[in-house]
Amino acid sequence: QQPVQSPQAVILREGEDAVINCSSSKALYSVHWYRQKHGEAPVFLMILLKGGEQKGHDKISASFNEKKQQSSLYLTASQLSYSGTYFCGTEPGNTDKLIFGTGTRLQVFP
């Protein structure tokens, strides 16, 4: 039931792009994306509701394919501050109960 994220880890140079994928075996109502730095709480990035919409702010955007039960997070022109572990939180049905993925560790170097 836990969504699977890929890749497990990404290493980037500043300015490079990355894509993180989140795949669920359950029908999803929404997908939430969070970034967590070591020793800190997860920080909310964005929420996508079913309907195939794409969202974004600054250089981070995401898409949600309801039929495939998949979501992707796109990081463009990465910055050092993007380093951390990214989690997708999936909501199966309109339950307001988030099930978090396995996490993707992203490291950005100068």
């Binding site: 997860p42 307001d96 109960k97």
Partner: protein, 111 residues
């Protein structure tokens, strides 16, 4: 505008003891969810409170219980602590159905 706050920051307990963790939601939020995060893992949903009632529950034993007060703050209680209960406990607040904002967490160590 204060965000989500949690207390205490760190806690060390002995196996078999009981613990209470506290959470104050972000201003304007009425829903509180609790998560357990083991080292290197994603947060696991424990339960959610709305209008002082437990609205949703994850796969956690009855040793885990909670409460929400009229001011929307919440407590998480864990009885008969086990070594495996050692983790970061996160509280997240929201308006029902919308994005959840996490507090800094309480690091619980059971010895």
């Amino acid at each position: 505008d204060a965000g989500v706050t949690q207390s205490p920051t760190h806690l060390i307990k002995t196996r078999g003891q009981q613990v209470t963790l506290r959470c104050s939601p972000k201003s304007g939020h009425d829903t509180v969810s609790w998560y357990q995060q083991a080292l290197g893992q994603g947060p696991q949903f424990i339960f959610q409170y709305y209008e002082e009632e437990e609205r949703q529950r994850g796969n956690f034993p009855d040793r885990f219980s909670g409460h929400q007060f009229p001011n929307y703050s919440s407590e998480l209680n864990v009885n008969a602590l086990l070594l495996g209960d050692s983790a970061l406990y996160l509280c997240a607040s929201s308006l029902v159905g919308l994005e959840q904002y996490f507090g800094p967490g309480t690091r619980l160590t059971v010895t």
